[in-house]
């Protein structure tokens, strides 16, 4: 009896192994499938309530906005073929493309555009996209192919509005209360890819042959979620997947050595920063010494950011200065005089000059009232990179007579502390956007108690923020945005440690036609540009 069972097991195992031998990772014959590994899974297919990275990537391919970004991040028409704006900049007329149809065969009309925008603006839903709609006061549809958008003030980021347009004939059926929890199990859009299926961490899209733009060269695009980056890198080396993003630093060497894989490290919008409590309100529980910008600047100057990037972030990333990424049109590069590069002497001199001296010889400077320059630095407990960065900061600051005490806590607890102003310093990061308003708004007075973590308030900065949002001339807007970054850099409520990079790879032995967007510094995926998904084509043997 027992022998029989054992035999059955061995047989079963043999069958499996033989199956494995002939199976490989092929896909259906004649169909080319591009499989991309990611480290995050999708939360929901509803663009109104999704907030995960993969979600945006999928929505970018299924839905179309009025305008998209090209490879240089300039706005080009998508659903809109052309547009004009009135003399005063308050009325925009978008002419929609002819003959665009939804994946289910219904024609797209201007009502769909109005419906989508109204839905988001009236219900406050889809915060990832609805922020693009700020300032719109009315939308009119004089005919099926024309959308007229009115604003009260000129809207500088009107052509940065990449809100996906949803089909009215499907979404209007859903009760307002149900919208947020609607599963949207089978999304219908107008984009270059149609939704096929989503299960067990795998999302499958197929190309839309009826797409009005360039039809993708790949037949299918599949997103595969991995729970750990090690396995993902192995899967890429083995050819189980054709591309990947969010690759870990630890796997860089392995993939760099793999001749079948092209690995890039590209700049991802956003940064990792030290937030400093600069709240002037009596309710602030932070160390009041940090309200002196001399100390903030000295800390910035004392941190060896390049060493931090090399030691903690595997050399991936670039030294941080101002609020917007160096690759962007709106990035302000501090002048040689303003720049606070790593320089211990300069940092010490700055503190000496401001009157902070070590009078009792314990290695820590004191203010004139005797209070010591000792601060606590909070890092998030499960972020080992940031904890290591924190340790480097402690030893850097020691050299200029500033005592830093490291503290780790859960991100939820840190969030509560930040909101209530109960902290000195912390390390965290932000993700950015092409529209500079998104990051710039963080430090406006109106965001105190919400996203303005340092509780920074500067009247000139606030005024410029409102102004830049209405400047229709790019150059003029750039000048205002430059000035804002200059103020924020000088005041240093945020000490920007680094601009983060994302490691991404493609199997170049199987696929061709991909490029970094923008060239040299950019990424393959996770862009608001979808060119790689359209242009990547299989290498035919």
């Amino acid at each position: 009896m027992k022998k029989n069972k054992l035999l059955a097991w061995i047989l079963a195992l043999l069958v499996c192994i033989s199956l494995a031998g002939c199976g490989g990772a092929q896909t259906t014959e004649g169909v080319n499938t591009f499989r991309i590994g990611t480290t995050t899974s999708i939360d929901t297919l509803n663009p109104l309530s999704s907030y995960m990275q993969v979600g945006f990537e999928v929505f970018l391919l299924i839905y179309d906005p009025l305008v998209r970004y090209d490879e240089n991040f300039e706005s080009v028409g998508s659903l809109a073929e052309s547009w004009t704006s009135s003399e005063d900049g308050l009325t925009w007329t978008f002419n929609l493309r002819e003959g665009v149809i939804w994946h289910d065969g219904e024609p797209l009309t201007s009502d769909d555009v109005k419906f989508t925008y109204d839905l988001m603006m009236e219900n406050g839903l889809g915060y990832m996209y609805s922020s693009y709609l700020t300032g719109i006061s009315a939308i009119e549809c004089p005919d099926e192919k024309t959308v007229v958008i009115k604003t009260e003030e000129p809207k500088a980021n009107m052509l940065m509005n990449t809100t996906p347009i949803l089909p009215q004939h499907i979404w209007s059926e859903i009760d307002t209360e149900e919208l947020e929890l609607y599963t949207n199990a089978s999304p219908v859009g107008t984009g270059p890819f149609k939704f096929d299926s989503s299960s067990e961490g795998v999302i499958k899209l197929v190309k839309n042959d009826a797409y009005f733009g360039t039809v993708p060269a790949m037949d299918e695009c599949v997103f595969v979620s991995y729970s750990n980056t090690d396995t993902m890198a192995q899967a890429l080396s083995l050819g189980e997947i054709d591309g990947a993003f969010n690759i870990g630093y630890a796997q860089k060497k392995q993939l760099d050595a793999d001749e079948n894989v092209t690995l890039i490290s590209g700049e991802i919008p956003g940064f990792t920063q030290i937030g400093v409590n600069v709240w002037t309100d009596p309710a602030s529980k932070g160390n009041p010494l940090l309200k002196d910008k001399a100390i903030r600047q000295a800390i910035d100057c004392a941190i060896d950011k390049q060493k931090m990037i090399d030691m903690v972030y595997g050399g991936e990333g670039s030294v941080g200065t101002t609020l917007l990424n160096p690759g962007q049109f709106y990035h302000y590069e501090p002048t040689a005089e303003e720049l606070r590069s790593y320089n211990i002497e300069k940092a010490n001199a700055r503190l000496d000059q401001a009157g902070y001296m070590d009078t009792d010889g314990d290695g820590i400077r004191e203010a004139s009232n005797g209070s010591k320059l000792e601060f606590s630095l909070i890092t998030i407990a499960d972020n080992s990179d940031e904890i290591k960065a924190g340790q480097l900061i402690v030893s850097d600051c020691e050299k200029i007579g500033i005592g830093i005490k490291n503290e780790t806590m859960d991100d939820g607890a840190l969030y509560d502390k930040i909101i209530s102003g109960d902290f000195d310093l912390f390390i965290w990061g932000w993700g950015g956007d092409i529209d500079p308003s998104v990051i710039l708004e963080l430090l406006t007075t109106g965001q105190i108690g919400a996203n303005n973590e340092p509780h920074f308030s500067n009247a000139e900065y606030d005024a410029l923020f409102l102004e830049q949002a209405t400047m229709m001339d790019e150059k003029e807007r750039q000048a205002a945005v430059f000035e804002m970054q200059r103020i924020a850099y000088d005041e240093a409520p945020y000490i920007i440690l680094l601009y983060d990079n994302n490691l991404q790879a493609i199997r170049s032995d199987r696929w061709t036609g991909f490029k970094q967007i923008p060239a040299e510094t950019g990424l393959f995926f996770l862009n608001i540009n979808f060119d790689n998904y359209i242009n990547i084509k299989p290498i035919v043997e």
Binding site: L19, T27, E240, D410
Partner: protein
């Protein structure tokens, strides 16, 4: 007499589950931090939207109202709404339960059989090299870090031998011509996680089996049986094994209960879309309703498995019958 103890045991089981439920609920509320902070920490989120979210999930209510509503809904079979997936917790769990049951169920079966056989051989050949070798094997696998073992297995079987895929449940993007092809693909993906899981479990079973069997084999009645001239196999099967199985039953029952939740590491290494990886995702996203749902399931299965073990015990062990 027996009926009464059955009722008594059922009541204890219900009380245990209730206590764990309350404890779980309070545990998550005591944790610092706003459950929605993770979701809403975004430069594009406005305070109004965060407030809207809070209302949607009932987080604007005082904690005791939330607790009351939680139990009220629970009695109606409603486990609440997942913050992260924005779907009912029951349907999120429902979609993830089968992969775990299949993988861990299979691993348990393999581990139990292998463990019993290894333990049996070791006990029988006590003191020999075979005993030392099996004991060593059991101790090493028992104390092996699961995550590390999983990676080693991936490197050996996927990277070097190219026998099995590294992860997932089906080849991504594959369209299957027949159901058979799909099942075969499923099995190919199933083998490595199952292997890892069973290696982790074998040690415990083998050690327990060996130790209890060694005890039993030194009992007087075994000597008596030997004196009577029975052959070794007969003694082992009829006299030693039934008695040695008692602690095994308890162990198996407890482990079966843990089937549901004890797979976090294996499922993470192999990206196996089961309850273990769901638990991990829920924890990362601070998705309390979902976490509570998974914990409830784990609690109920452990309690029920123990309950069944208790009952079975009274059948297979005459001493407990009274």
């Amino acid at each position: 007499m027996k009926k009464r103890s059955l009722i008594q045991k059922s009541i204890y089981a219900v009380i245990t589950i209730f206590a764990v439920l309350v404890f779980n609920y309070l545990l998550f509320r005591v944790l610092p931090g706003d459950p929605l902070s993770m979701m809403m920490r975004n430069p594009k989120a406005t305070p109004e939207m965060i407030e809207g979210m809070r209302q949607l999930f009932g987080l604007d209510q005082p904690w005791y109202v939330q607790l009351y509503l939680y139990f009220k809904n629970l009695l109606a079979g409603d486990l609440g709404m997942s913050f992260y997936f924005k779907q009912p917790v029951s349907s999120v769990i429902g979609a993830r339960i089968m992969p775990t049951i299949i993988m861990v169920g299979l691993a348990e079966v393999v581990a139990i059989f292998a463990g019993i056989i290894i333990g049996l051989i070791a006990a029988w050949k006590r003191g020999t090299r075979i005993d030392v070798a099996t004991l060593g094997f059991s101790l090493v696998t028992y104390s092996m870090p699961t995550f590390w073992l999983g990676m080693v297995i991936v490197v050996v079987f996927s990277v070097n031998l190219h026998l099995f895929p590294t992860s997932g449940i089906l080849t991504p993007g594959m369209t299957y011509q027949t159901t058979g092809a799909m099942v075969a693909d499923y099995i190919r993906h199933l083998i490595l996680p199952t292997l890892t899981m069973s290696i982790v479990l074998i040690g415990e079973y083998a050690l327990t089996m060996r130790n209890t069997l060694t005890d039993v084999l030194s009992e007087d009645y075994i000597t008596t049986a030997k004196a009577k001239g029975f052959d070794n196999k007969y003694i082992l099967r009829k006299h030693a094994l039934p008695n040695a199985m008692l602690p095994m039953v308890t162990l198996i029952a407890i482990n079966l209960g843990l089937v549901v939740g004890g797979t976090v590491q294996v499922e993470t290494v192999f990206s196996w879309p089961g309850l273990g990886s769901l638990m991990y995702e829920a924890l990362r996203a601070r998705d309390y309703p979902l976490l509570q749902g998974v914990f409830l399931l784990v609690t109920v299965s452990v309690v029920v498995a123990n309950f069944i073990a208790d009952i079975t015990y009274s059948y297979i062990d005459p001493r407990v019958k009274e």
